[in-house]
Each structure stands twice: as structure tokens, then as C-alpha cells.
Symmetry: C2
Subunit: 512 residues, 2 copies
Amino acid sequence: MVKNQIGREIPSEIADVFGVFEGQFAKKHDYQRASGQVHAVVPGESKMLYSVREAIIKSGLKDGMTISFHHHFREGDAVLNMVMEEIAGLGIKNLTLASSSIANVHEPIIEHVKNGVITNITSSGLRDKVGAAISHGLMENPVVIRSHGGRARAIEKGEIHIDVAFLGAPSSDCYGNANGSHGKATCGSLGYARVDAEFADKVIIITDNLVPYPNTPISIPQNHVDYVVVVDSIGDPNGIAKGATRITSNPKELLIAENACKVITASPYYKEGFSFQAGSGGSTLAVARFLADAMRKDGVKAGYALGGLTGHLCEMMEEGLIEKVIDTQSFDRGAIESIKNNPNHYEISASFYANPGNKGAAVNQLDVVVLSALEIDTDFNVNVMTGSDGIIRGASGGHSDTAAGSKLSLILTPLIRGRIPTIVEKVNTVITPGESVDVVVTELGIAVNPRRQDLVEAFAKLKVPQFTIEELKEKAYSVVGTPDPVVYEDKVVAVIEYRDGSVIDVVRKVRD
Amino acid sequence: MVKNQIGREIPSEIADVFGVFEGQFAKKHDYQRASGQVHAVVPGESKMLYSVREAIIKSGLKDGMTISFHHHFREGDAVLNMVMEEIAGLGIKNLTLASSSIANVHEPIIEHVKNGVITNITSSGLRDKVGAAISHGLMENPVVIRSHGGRARAIEKGEIHIDVAFLGAPSSDCYGNANGSHGKATCGSLGYARVDAEFADKVIIITDNLVPYPNTPISIPQNHVDYVVVVDSIGDPNGIAKGATRITSNPKELLIAENACKVITASPYYKEGFSFQAGSGGSTLAVARFLADAMRKDGVKAGYALGGLTGHLCEMMEEGLIEKVIDTQSFDRGAIESIKNNPNHYEISASFYANPGNKGAAVNQLDVVVLSALEIDTDFNVNVMTGSDGIIRGASGGHSDTAAGSKLSLILTPLIRGRIPTIVEKVNTVITPGESVDVVVTELGIAVNPRRQDLVEAFAKLKVPQFTIEELKEKAYSVVGTPDPVVYEDKVVAVIEYRDGSVIDVVRKVRD
């Protein structure tokens, strides 16, 4: 057992493979980029195949290889299950599934693991039944959880080598030029998929909307694509993207958002041309509304918003409050319409967005990020992966990427959820290390990370109650009591890879 | 000495290195893509440097390395000379210059060769004094001439490994996001530069127009860029791009264009949704005008035009005669304005455009291409490189790429130029092999390549006189006499690499 820099115990056999976390920027990245295999396509040769099955066969997929999918279709995705069923039918085994993330709808994965089709998984997140099954010891080998930036880094450094990428596309032409903004079931940005297409050996575009050559805009270019398959449906449009999320009416969430807005506008970063990222959760979405009000009042205009984008932020751009948005994942219909129609809404790849190992990711330029948490501890470590029962149900996402890259990271969380404290002595699972976290914002007030004395001073006159993180924890514990620790077994079911490739934590099997 | 498939004599020591041409699609390309080195950039780290000199030093450029430039600034380029002067001043020697092409304005290269700063050159073309100097034996090592697609292939296969790319950009932000459509001196598409940025170890953006982050649209993304340098001027806007070229009023050129238009419209490819490429030369530009008239009359609309784009083709798109244009190089102001403003004018990289070694280049999808020639011989081999005096003055460009990829390639040429026949027994230098050429179009009539019996039949009733290529040659010779052969010495001054990497020809030193 090895203790990493934040005191998490990592089994030696895992530490030996990945190395252990030593600080958010401790690891230097100097390397030659990985690259995929190319089989040149000559004039007259068609890339169009008749079925997913034919594509799998033509791709040369074999036992032990690594396959990938993107998660832009979220709970509407039909591609992963469709492809996995064919792969299973072909008797191919022992695959590594390297999806950018895994949704509830991908529950059939459980059977594929049981049948030996899938023996390794790497993903940003695991939801619902798949997460629960894995937390209960479904797999022999631990899942490797990677952030969006960390996954791009792992691919570009060759730590994940994708043999075959199966990439669903809302539109494609016969040569594989694909985008996510046109079609029957649109998802907007194809930012995650772009990395897979660039670095995989074989790339198969699966679409339900074949358009004349050349399809534009081009998110995935033809020179990264081997085959194109047309299917009846890549997924359920309503599962892929929902309409605009209504701003929360929960008074506690609104209070948290209001406090967060006060923190942002009192910070030294709030000025003409500033940049921010805010997600789609209850409080974080509401922050954008309060921030918009403040920006109108103060006459401050943001240079850009980075995302994970919601339609709300796109409306702020339309209104002139934000100059541009750059987008690796379009969260809702509003964002999808925006990327289709507004040239100032620009698609970026997951590597461009957040890869800590490239020549400079967008998160490095970010002023402010507004994030959420399942738990945060008195070292400011954040858990967005496991529930208070220790079961995997979340996703690493861009949490640690944006927290590390931004100048000001806010973690928005209620003090307690139900009868469970969110501010705790020690989080179940660390996704984002405390050194990346600047301010915790609750309905009662805020706690500034003592590492940021500059912010402590900047917020001296802030009209939001300020506490130490220990005080916030005590307040939570005083209401609901000290939580019982989750009882784990020794078996590691998930390795939490920090964005730099080191192990920041592991998740152990929960006791049945 | 080795004879290649088209009978050109290649010295064994060159044949051993490159292999010899064996047919346009003889060579199969199965390989792992090359890739560049990465040194990761962390938050707070700046890419901005104070001078070109500092950038050269920081890049680690050393004796014997390979440097690259793009030729989007044409005769207006100030970047190559500026950088080379600093490199020379730093005493760095023995470099390989791997520009996408070299213009007249780059005459200082001659001194850099004489001083040992540059000892190898690869380029699409060599103009004027540089070409003449090389043809007279300036360099010890032969220049390697590559087509636009061939250069991209060589880079992606690792045959050209760029240590440092110096990429002029009409606009860039502090992180290196660059495009060619906004700024003081715009060039439109940055299609050639994109390949260098993707595969070079170190990438330096040189701009005279620093804009707020994030600069969009993004032709070269920040994750491919190491440093950014701001200079007073990247070049002369009037040299970079001229206004619309007037359609020729030369009756012979108009007649050739009219004949070409008749060939195209009588071909089986002329139908709704067809695609074509036509360059900026006298007759080829005029073809677009005649073709536009025919399309209006026939109610035929093109799916796309590929380019090398002129403003004339963009106007055809505005008019609705062409659905989209995809663009690796914007030839004039009209094309530059179009790519800036029209989302159906889409930038593509040189690899996407023409690389025969990738997963499918745009030229493979092309129906019709209209090309010119300095000479064409009775085997239909085309020379666009050396003059009738044997001196290098042209460029390989996309000639062999589009001729090979397209379904119908037309070579437009007057029968004679001045007192010199253009249709000859044997061209001085082969850039495009006869098997890629379908129809030769002159003012007197056409010659269909007998390899294309389908076209011979398709054009049976064409109202343009038809001849054999030998007959056309005889007509030319009967007017101006049989040309005297150019007298060469043995020394090879240029290797003509076919797009697949094999040697299709060599250029020898002219006798002084």
C-alpha cells in the first residue's frame, strides 16, 4: 500500500502501473504523440458498408483489443448497445471498452462483462445499474475512471490505444465527414469523438442521416474515417438532448447560486472580457442567471464561456453578454441549435478543452469555473463519483480539469442532502484534489481555501458569511450527526486516475 | 540508372532511396501515422515570445534540422525571409527547408544555400531566380519536388519530419489559435499550414494581428502550437492576394476554354450534383465562366467545387450554381472574403485535399478537374515544372493529385506558345503521368487518351474536332518545327517525387 500526496491509500500493484498523485502540476509531460494506423483509400473505393456487423468484421476487431464510443448521445444513445450486441454475437471476447462515458441506457454492458466480452473498462463515469454492479464486484479488473482531459491525454500519450472507434454521428457523407449539428437526432458538438477519430487505428462512422458529399461543418474529417454504416436510428432524440432546463425554484439552491454570484463578482477576475464555465446542475445553472443580471447591471461582458454548454449560456451570447462560446459538449436543445446557427459558438475537441498533456488546453485560460460536488472534505478534496453509500454513480467529467486550470474554482453544494452531510471529514472518493479548489459555496455561506490567501483578502468585505471548511463541516454534522463510514472490502473496483495519469484514489468493493 | 514505368531514367542512388514510379496507384500505403513531440503547457505559462529570434532559440533549432513554412502568402510573404535571416544570424547551418512552396520573393534563399544555412530543399515549386539558380547547379543535394498531396503524405508517413514549423498567421490569439480569414493581411484558407502544425515537433505562430482569446474560426488549434510571436507585418496584403483576375480576352484561350466546356458538358459526369476543380490560369478560369453559362441553361447545379478557389467560383456558389466549396488555398480577394463570410465555403487541410496516403482525400471524390500544362507529350505525360529551356520555373501543386483522383481530367493548352510547341514527343519533366490524363484540349481540338475508350465513345458526337495526340503534336511541329532537345549535364538538381513517394522523374543541371 502506498499513500499518495493527499493521503489516499493506493495498493502497490496499482501504484506501480500508474504512479501515484503528487500534486496537480507535479507531473511533466514531454512525449511523442501517439498515432493511429492508416490504410489508404484509393479513388473508386467505397467506405460504405451494409451493416454494423460487416464493419466490425472489416475493422479486424479481435479478442483483447480496445474499442471506443463517445457519450454525446447521453441517455438517448443506441450505438453502444447496438455495436456491443453484434460484437458479442461474433464471439469476440476480452475487450477493453474505452467509452468517453457510460450512461444508464448502457445497462447491457453488465451482461457483456459477465460473458467475458468486456473485461476492462475506462470511462469518465458509471451510472445507475452499471455503477452499482461494478461497485459490487462485477469485474475482475478495476475500471479506470478518467476525466475528460485525462482521457484525451491518455489517448494522445498512447496509454489508451484505440483499435476500433465506433462513432455515432447525426450526419455523415459517404466518406465519413461527420458532424453533430445536422440530422434527425442531433447532439451538437462532437468534441469527445474527435479525439477518438484522430488517434484510433480504425474509425467507423455510424449514422442515420447520410448526406451528399461533402458534409459540412466537419467535426470528424474523412481522412480519419475508414468506414461508414447507415442504420435506422442512432438513438432517441429526446434522450440525446432535452429542452432547456428550467432554472431551479428550490430556495436553497437559489441561495447557493446567489452566494456564488457574489463571490464571482467580488473576485479580481470579474472584469471586461473574463471567462467562465458553469454546468447544467441546479445551482450552477442558476449562477448563470444571477451572473447575467450582475453583468447587465455592471456593464461587464464576458470574453467567452467554455463548456459543456447549456442553452442559457448561448442566450447570454445572443444577448451580447458573452462574446463567444467554445464547446466540447452541447447539453441541451438550445445549445445544439446555437452551435448549428451561430458562428461564435465554436466546437472544440476534448483535448483542446482539457488535456493537461497537450500544448495548452482551454481550461488553462479559464478565469472562473462553477462546479458541484457529492461530497467535499475539510482538505477541500471533492467527490463527484461515489454516493454516501460508497457506490459508483457519478462521473469525473471535466471537474478536476477545470478546477486545476481555472483561476477561481467554486464548488457549490448544500450543507446536507436529505440526512447526509456533504461537507465531511474525508470524502469517500477523491476526484478533484483540494489544492484545485478555491471556494466552497453553501446556502449558509462560503469557505475559502486557506491556500488562497489572496482570495481571503479579496473577499474580506463580501456580504456572504465566511467560515472555515471545518466550521461548515461541524454545522453539517451538528444537524445530521457524524456519518457512519462506508464499509468496504479490500478489492479495488475502480482506479481513479487523476488527469495527469497518476492515481489519486481507488474505489473499493462495497460490502454486500 | 533505372527506367521507371514511364521510361524516365532515374539514377540508381536516387531510385534506391525513393523507389521508382510504377503506376499511379501501384504503391499501397499501410503505415502508422507519424507524430510530433509535445511539451505540455501548464496554466499560467505564456506562449508569447518577444521576437522571432527568441522563438528560434526556444524552439531548440539546431544544425541539420528540418524547418517548414507555408506558401499561403504567395508573393506577399515576409515570414520566410524574416525567419531565415534570423536563423542565418544565429549561425545555424545545414537545414532542410520544407516549405509547401517557394515564391519569387524568397530569392534570399540563394544566399542561405551559398552560406550553408540551407543544404536541402523540398517544395512544390521553385520560381524565377531560385529555380534558375538551382537548375544551374546551386545546390549539392537535389531539391525534392512534391505535390501538395504528396507533401502531406510524406509528412504523415514521417518521410518529412518537421522539427520546427514557422507559420505566418493573419490572426492569432495568445495561445496560438490561428486563422487566415481575419486580419490586416488575409490569405483565406490555411490548408497547407494545418498539416505542418499537426505533425511538427515545435510550432511557432508568427502574426501581425493578435486578437483576444479564443480566436475563431480555428484553422490551427492551440494544442498544436508552442509559441506565438507578434511582428509588425507578416507580409504585403497586395502580394498575398490580388483582386479578381479578369477573364481572359485572348481569343485562343477563350476557344480552348469553350472546347473544354463542351467536353465537360458532354461527359457522363456533367449532371446534378457533379463536382469540379478549375484553377486560376487564363483558360481554366474562363472554363468556369462557360461552364456557369451551360449550367444556367441546362439547370444543372454542382454539388461542390474543390480548390484552390477563385472568387469566380465563390460567385457561382452565391448564385446557387454550386452548393459548397471546399478550400485548401484561397487564390484571390474574392475567395478570401467568401471563406470569411460564407459557411458553405469550408476550409480543408492539404491532407484532406489531396494526400494519396490517407484514409481518402477529396480529390478521390472529384468528378472533373481542369488543369494546364507547360508541355504535354504523346504519352500524355504533363510537365508543369521546367520551361522549354529545361530550367525549373513551375510548381507541382495539386496537378498530379487531382489528375489521379478525378474521374475526368482535362489538360488545357495552346498548341504552341510563342515559337515553342507545347505538345511534344517527350516532355522535359514529368509531373503527371499520362495514365492520369484523360483529355487534352487545344484551340484546334481535343485528343482523348486512348486508355479512356469510354470517353472516346462518349465524345463521338462532340462538336469539337478530335485528333490523336500524335496528330496534335504533328500540327504543332509543322508550324514551329521540331524543337531542339535541351542539353543537360548529368548532375541531378531536382528529384520529382510522385504523390505516392516514388520518383517519376529527375531534373538535371542545364549546361551553362
